[in-house]
Amino acid sequence: MSETLEQIASAARTDAPPAILLDKVNKWFGALHVLRDVSLNVALGERLVVCGPSGSGKSTMIRCINRLETHQEGRIVVNGIELSDDVKALDDIRREVGMVFQSFNLFPHLTILENCTLAPIWVRRMPKAQAEELAMEYLTRVRIPEQAKKYPGQLSGGQQQRVAIARALCMKPKIMLFDEPTSALDPEMIKEVLDTMVSLAEDGMTMICVTHEMGFARQVADRVVFMDRGEIVEMGTPAQMFESPQTERLKLFLSQILRGH
């Protein structure tokens, strides 16, 4: 990568303050170098889609942003707070950043409603009644308010993933991270989850989404980032990326993706 940070920033919407900033981030798993000088600037309200072959470090990158993994070199600044070993900063960041996982990770021993109110009550110290009201609001938003009393095991995969989104939203995060939210789902269910995400995007939520759903990327992404072997190889609007890929690697990747479907 030869761009400087400024260049990257300029590629983003210039009118909004930066929500996430990655500056030459490096990460190793043991001796394995999985993120290499990754620099990225996400403006507030921006929707970013990350794609790339398996093992390219996409998950690792977004997990570094809310510090489920720790990076070892470079800086990550989220919402103005720099990630460090400081526990206080970490708490603040996790409050601002919601995350949705590939495998939902709902808490199976709690009802849908309890899943959603847990963090507001204990982290945001909200009264229970208020937290439940909030939760019902978001559950309505993702169109499953009637399931509130059920347990996750009684829901379909698509419904579970929507609950996971609602759960993250209940913390009123400024930023949402999605790690392949639809890849564990059957085709019919993919659609219902993507619809939810589109509606979120339309509301102006800052989002980083790892996904291979190109239709989704085209529809909502402001920018698409292509990663390979721990590096950001290409970055641009969906149109640029999909219609005129610059690098061989992206071309190869796109041909595989499209063949696969």
Binding site: N66, L68, D91, R94, R95, V97, G98, M99, F101, S103, N105, L106, F107, P108, H109, L118, A119, W122, V123, G153, R167, A168, M171
Partner: protein
């Protein structure tokens, strides 16, 4: 074409009456043939076993019922002695059963330990019911155990004070096992969490504790409690013998339970930890709300099995002279008149242990099957 098509009667009448199996296939006879007499080897095994079984049952019935003596007038055991080898002397149980059950507890106050035994059983039954698997169960335990303490010690509410060294029999066994579990459990959870901690010193301490305890026999811990423990304490301070044994059992149970709990912690998918982290829950919130509720639920069957183990192992306090069920049984036959009726006492004491352990083990088997079914669904 028609010559190739089978024109079967069955095809003409789809509801053809099914022929019943040859007689040798069905009913009691069929069952016996299939399960007892298929092949000569099988038949031989069946016959030999049946013969031995019947002989043994007849022999035992003769000794234990037909020829047995059920009671004798005041300690005149000569009749029993004359019958030795051919008939059981259940009179020893008739005479000593209250001592075996309650030890040296004041005779007129026996209703108190008896009530405690019932309370313990009630506690087990309630704990076994899944609808009570909620935090309120902890409260129930606290209340019942307190109540048991009050009943046993007395000194309040018009109950006379009974010092600890007078407690004995079945109730001691239940106390050692139950209090052992109640206190070992939190310890085990801490140790299990510690063993999975990222902090090397804490992890090392926990590993050391678990491996040390699991590497040595319980009786060496009991010996330690009885002869070494008093040396550990400052001069003039001392802890009652029962309490020392209880501490040894708690330390012992803690190490084994910690391994059980650790199994549950390990079985929990990593995603659960991560989801809790991502929501911003603190370590203790994450552990208390997300991890433990799931991990503990998963390990209930092995937990019950471990508990059965402790229940049996409390009998080892015999070795340091605490009057638990087994010791009381053995002490009952020290009195010269009743010496030598060990088998009868062992059978009785064994039956009591068996009833408790068998109920628990059946319960744990059912639970395991049920939980597995649940999980598969």
């Amino acid at each position: 074409m028609s010559d190739l098509t089978l024109n079967t009667p069955a095809a003409a009448s789809p509801e053809a009456v099914s022929r019943s199996a040859p007689l040798s296939q069905v009913g009691l006879l069929g069952w016996a043939r299939a399960n007892l007499f298929s092949g000569w080897l099988n038949t031989a095994v069946t016959l030999v076993l049946a013969y031995l079984l019947i002989r043994w049952i007849v022999g035992f019935a003769e000794w234990g019922i037909v020829n047995a003596i059920w009671s004798v007038p005041d300690n005149q055991t000569q009749a029993c002695r004359d019958l030795k080898g051919t008939g059981a002397c259940w009179a020893v149980i008739a005479e000593k059963h209250r001592f075996i059950l309650f030890g040296t507890y004041p005779f007129e106050e026996h209703w108190r330990p008896a009530l405690c035994v019932l309370l313990f059983i009630g506690l087990y039954v309630v704990s076994a019911m899944r609808r009570f698997w909620r935090p309120v169960l902890g409260l129930i335990w606290a209340v019942v155990l307190t109540l048991i303490g009050v009943l046993m010690w007395g000194g309040v509410a018009g109950l006379s004070y009974v010092p600890q060294e007078r407690w004995g029999g079945l109730v001691i066994t239940l106390i050692l096992a139950t209090f052992g579990l109640a206190f070992a459990f939190p310890l085990a959870i801490l140790v299990a969490l510690g063993r999975r901690s990222k902090l090397p010193a804490i992890k090392a301490l926990c590993v050391l504790y678990v491996e040390l305890i699991r590497g040595v026999p319980l009786i060496s811990l009991l010996f330690m409690a009885s002869v070494m423990f008093p040396l550990f304490l400052p001069e003039g301070m001392n802890i009652d013998k029962l309490l020392r044994a209880q501490i040894a059992i708690i330390l012992f149970a803690g190490a084994y339970l910690a391994e059980v709990v650790r199994g549950g912690l390990q079985a929990l998918p990593k995603g659960q930890y991560e989801a809790a982290d991502a929501l911003g829950l603190s370590y203790w919130q994450k552990t208390g709300f997300i991890i433990l509720p799931q991990a503990l639920r998963m390990v209930i069957p092995p937990l019950v099995n471990t508990f059965i183990g402790f229940f049996k192992d409390t009998s080892l306090v015999l070795i340091i002279g605490i009057f638990d069920l087994l010791t009381a049984g053995k002490t009952a036959i020290i009195e010269p008149a009743w010496q030598g009726f060990g088998i009868e006492v062992y059978i009785t004491v064994g039956a009591i242990y068996f009833v408790f352990c068998f109920a628990m083990s059946k319960y744990s088997q059912n639970l395991e099957a049920e939980l597995n079914r649940h999980r598969r669904r």
